[in-house]
């Protein structure tokens, strides 16, 4: 290791290390906003931005709990299926004249139980979460179809659907996004300012060491899977009210979008590294690029390609820059580096 540089520059370096990727993503969000504004005068209007952000409410909500899971080096591919299952359940309960508050409560119970099953299979049997949640991805989606078949339930009361596509009174902020922002702040505090949150990084960085340090790894992971199920249930309720439609195939394939956002946000797939800020910024980046390209009639396919390239670039570019720096240092050896 090199000798420690003087304190001020070390602080700057540490800040850069801490904020590097997140800062880049946030910068890209502004670039995307600017590009959108240049592409169309209608882009930077409150109503367009509001419509555009509402469009990624569900992905944003699920990205919060996915961030925590990926930090402990686990993954949940079943979130979109839990969303579909919860949406179907909400529809079926409402159609069976269950009062709406009770129906919503039962929907959350179902989401929590779905997450609990994932968590038990991972923590009790020691199965890899990738394999488990591929299985429950099929299982939960199948249960959604078993509940609702190919029917759609649409006649939800206006008081509730207004929650889905309404605005916070006096603003242009969609209610689901306001809800998301509150939860994002709570998640940030949980992850970055509590012992529980620091424990997640410890588990992700080295599970064995974390266990020896007295962390109850299994219980923490179980909690996170249940949380993931609950967030998917919330996303299911939001989705159902926003589109005023409960269908078994709601949000099919969303899991990849959620994971793409979390990874693009700088959360390491190997665990132990990442932040809520990065994940949230990445959700906004993908959503804004999506909106900007849609407004100028650039087709969906380009957006798909851009999402993929962003995802690959988010890991590839820092890797290549790092190698370049190493190579340059090797070519111009500093006096103290020769031993």
């Amino acid at each position: 290791m090199k000798p420690a540089p003087p304190a001020p520059s070390s602080l700057v370096a540490r800040l850069r290390g801490l904020l590097g990727w997140e800062a880049t993503i946030i910068l890209l969000v502004f670039v995307a906003l600017l590009a959108g504004a240049l592409l169309s005068p209608d882009f930077l209007t409150a109503s367009n931005l509001s419509f555009l952000t509402a469009n990624f409410s569900e992905v944003a909500l699920m990205a919060l709990s996915m961030t925590l899971l990926v930090i402990v080096a686990e993954i949940d591919l079943s979130v979109a299926s839990i969303l579909g299952l919860c949406s179907s359940l909400l529809g079926v309960l409402w159609a069976a004249h269950v009062p709406m508050p009770l129906a919503i409560a039962l929907t959350f119970v179902a989401g929590g139980l779905a997450g609990l099953l994932n968590g038990l299979l991972v923590t009790r049997l020691g199965l890899p979460s990738l394999a488990v949640t591929i299985g429950t991805l099929a299982l939960y989606r199948g249960l959604a179809y078993a509940l609702l078949g190919d029917r759609a339930i649409a006649d939800f009361p206006a008081a509730y659907t207004n929650l889905g596509f309404g605005m916070v009174p006096g603003t242009q902020i969609p209610i689901p996004i306001a809800l998301f922002l509150v939860l994002a702040i709570l998640t940030t505090v949980l992850l970055h300012a509590t012992a529980f949150g620091r424990g997640l990084y410890a588990i992700g960085a080295n599970e064995v060491a974390a266990r020896f340090a007295g962390l109850r790894v299994e219980r923490v992971k179980l909690t996170l899977f249940v949380l993931s199920g609950l967030m998917a249930a919330l996303a299911g309720v939001v989705y159902t009210f926003r589109f005023s439609s409960a269908r078994a195939d709601n949000a099919t394939g969303f899991e990849l979008g959620v994971i793409a956002a979390v990874l693009l946000g700088g959360v390491s797939i190997f665990g132990g590294r990442g932040s809520v800020v990065g994940a949230v910024a990445a959700v906004f980046l993908i959503g804004i690029i999506n909106g900007a390209l849609t407004i100028v009639d650039v087709s969906n396919e380009v957006l798909t390609i851009v999402t993929g390239l962003l995802l690959i670039g988010s890991v590839l570019v820092p890797n290549l820059l790092g190698r370049l720096r190493v190579a340059r240092e090797r070519r111009q050896p500093r006096g103290d580096a020769v031993s």
Binding site: G126, T136, A138, R141, G253, L311, V315
Partner: protein
């Protein structure tokens, strides 16, 4: 790892050794499902329905070959579904442009195109040091986006395809459909390669312990690249067979296939932690999932329940596997300590 342990442990009885092998228990489960369903509905084992079953399994079983090689190295290839979609459409477009194209040339086209797409993954993972999950999730989007851009709302129908190609798809040799034969040949060739050749064994070494493999003189980077190229090439071949099997291909062809393929490999005993598994097991895994699917249809399970049942079966299979393998490991441990 497993192979080493088996070789060094004192030989237990033949029956015990057979039962310890994952593939044997899978074949037993397969037989139970086959015979049980046939007992309830004898038409399940009729020539026509067996033929349909095999054809339905072929695409998955083929893609599983490449996926297994990647999984052995402790990587994963999520982009196979997009590769299948892109090659299926482009080979269809090629047939429309050149109706007289010989079929082997079309298959070669699929293999080469797939290999090129696989090389993108391989370069990202091996040289760019991008984790395979991230790289192939990215290319899953990119390849699918390219497909949408190329297809542009159109689709290819059986009516556009030359009759020779369609009759190749429906043809058979001695009652075995051509497509099934082709997939069997690929499986057997790669099975021999993985089991008995130095190059093949290196995939196990890389996945078991990459550092040890490097010390043993294996070029891990190049091996990784080759593995992804093979996975892409096989997915490309599967794309052409997809076109042959279904005739109709649009931009969404093959969507979601990657999860079925990984499920089949995992049921077949290929560990996603690398280094463990055989192509024979993976093939049986694909067959088992296919048989269960069509058994549910035959037994008139409501179609809406089928996906749920398949998901539950997958969970059951991997749960049993981990419990059994843990018990085996404990027993081996006891035997070693006197």
């Amino acid at each position: 790892m497993t192979q080493l342990a088996e070789a060094s442990a004192p030989a237990p009885g033949l029956l015990a050794r057979l039962l310890a092998r994952r593939e044997v228990s899978l074949v037993l489960i397969l037989l139970v499902v086959l015979l049980g369903t046939a007992a309830i509905n004898p038409r399940f084992l009729g020539a026509g329905s067996v033929r349909d079953l095999l054809l339905n399994v072929t695409i998955i079983a083929l893609v599983v070959v490449g996926q297994t090689i990647v999984l052995l190295m402790k990587h994963v290839d999520l982009s196979v579904s997009s590769t299948v979609g892109l090659t299926a459409f482009l080979s269809g477009a090629l047939f429309i442009a050149h109706p007289g194209l010989p079929i082997p040339l079309a298959l070669l086209f699929g293999v080469v195109l797939g290999a090129a797409l696989g090389a993108v993954n391989g370069l990202l993972v091996a040289y760019g040091r991008v984790p395979a999950l991230v790289a192939t999730l990215g290319t899953l989007y990119v390849f699918r986006g390219i497909t949408y851009a190329v297809v542009h709302g159109g689709q290819i129908n059986a009516a556009n395809l030359p009759p020779a190609f369609l009759s190749f798809a429906t043809g058979s040799v001695l009652g075995v459909p051509n497509l099934v034969l082709l997939v069997l040949v690929v499986m057997i060739l790669f099975g021999i390669y993985l089991g008995s050749y130095r190059g093949g064994r290196e995939y196990y070494a890389v996945g078991s312990n990459a550092e040890a493999a490097t010390l043993a003189g294996i070029n891990v980077t190049r091996r990784t690249l080759t593995g992804f190229v093979i996975s892409g090439a096989i997915a490309g071949l599967a794309g052409v067979l997809y076109l042959a099997r279904y005739g109709t291909v649009d931009a969404s062809a093959g969507t979601g296939l990657e999860l079925q393929v990984i499920a089949a490999a995992v049921v077949g005993g290929v560990s996603i932690n690398g280094g463990v598994g055989t192509l024979f097991g993976a093939g049986i895994g694909a067959l088992l999932l296919g048989v269960m699917g069509s058994a549910l249809v035959t037994l008139r399970a409501p179609s809406f329940y089928q996906q749920a049942i398949q998901g539950a079966l997958l969970l059951l299979a991997i749960s049993i596997d981990i419990v059994v393998s843990r018990r085996t490991a404990r027993r081996l441990g006891q035997r070693r300590t006197p």
